[in-house]
Each structure stands twice: as C-alpha cells, then as structure tokens.
Amino acid sequence: MPDHVDNPSPARSHWSVSEMLLRCTFGTRTPAERRLILRGKIVGALILGWLLVGIITHMHPKPLMGVITLFLPAAFYTYYALEKRKYFLSPDELPRRIELEGMAWAYSVGVLATLWLGAIGYVVSLQWPLDPKLLAWVPFFLFGAFLASVKGAYRYFASRRY
C-alpha cells in the first residue's frame, strides 16, 4: 500500500484533545464549529467582563447587581445552548454519536450528583444553615462546570475508543 494512503499514526488518528476538553468540539474547523467557538468566546468575554466590572467597582453586594450577575450567565448560556444545538446538527455520525453518549453520561451523573448533593446539603443545613447566596451558585457549578467536565471527559475517552 502506498505511504500516502496508509494510515496516519495513532496519535494523529484522533480528534484534538484540547478542542474536546476546552472548547467542547471536535476540532474539525467546519463553519458551524467556527461559528460556535466565536459566539462562545463572545459570551464568555461578556460574562467575565461583567464579573470583573462587578469586582473592581465593588458593586456585587447590592441586590440588583447580584440579580444581574446571576441572570446574565443564565441568559447567555441560553443563547449558547441554542448555538450549540445548531452545531450539534453539523458533525458527521461518529462525533455525533460520541456527543450523544456523553450527554447520556452527563445526564446520569447529573441526576446522581443532584440527589447526593441534595441529601448531603440537607443534613449539613441542619447543623449549619446555608447561605442562600451560596445556593444560588450551586446550579452554575453543578451543571455549568461539573457536568460539562463529565461530558468533556467522556468525549475524550470515547474518542480514544474509536
């Protein structure tokens, strides 16, 4: 078999690790993927900018600012989720399958984590009352950070399997 039609090395046979873990894509550089990455960067910059402004100007303790600070990621993530939905229709069947499997895993882990956190949180709150402001950030850390990491990790390991 001629060299140029032979298999690439195993290391180059997989999708980019950094793209899968950091950008939640497969690094195929399709128009849909580039669009998602650009919009994700804009959304991230706006949220980060708002948080930095809040910290620098010490305005975060005020209730209105707190409400905006919590609603802003929710609103932007809603937009990002809609963009992600468009992107999700673009990959070919194997990346889409991996992404779907990752979502199924993240869902199962999310249900488990919610049940355990709820039970542990209740027990803890009996002894030490929890600050409601702290509770407001739980969904962000649970669903935004933890479950995204679960899906990212699954995406990585599943892509190594194929």
Binding site: P2, V5, N7, P8, H14, E93, L94
Partner: protein
Amino acid sequence: MRNDLRVLRARHNLTQAELAERLGVTRQTINAIETEKYDPSLPLAFKIGAVFRLPVEEIFFAENGSVPSRPSRT
C-alpha cells in the same frame, strides 16, 4: 463487522482525508471504520459503496454469525 475499506481506498489511491471529504465525514470516522472499531450507518455504507462503485455487501461483511459472511469473489 469487517470491511475492505482500506484495501479499496488504496486501490483507488485515496487518502483517508480525501475519502472523508468525498463522503462528507471526518477523517477520524474513516479511520474508525477502517480499523473496524466503528460500524457506519446504512446511509454512509451506501455512500461508501457509491464512491467505490461496489455493492455494500462487497465492502462490509461479517466474520461469522447471523449476517451473511463475505461473498465469494469470482
């Protein structure tokens, strides 16, 4: 499921990337099919057949079991 994709690709002097582009999939998908770690969907299998102008059953075949085994070539 086993397949002759790598042999056919070499016979047609195509790289994985070139075949992937023709089929509208990623190169990694072609690699996964060639290494028999992933069985393509029926539409993709037919597309592959169309590229090589061969029926699907001459590209994909079972080692043994419930699906037809590799057809004999005359």
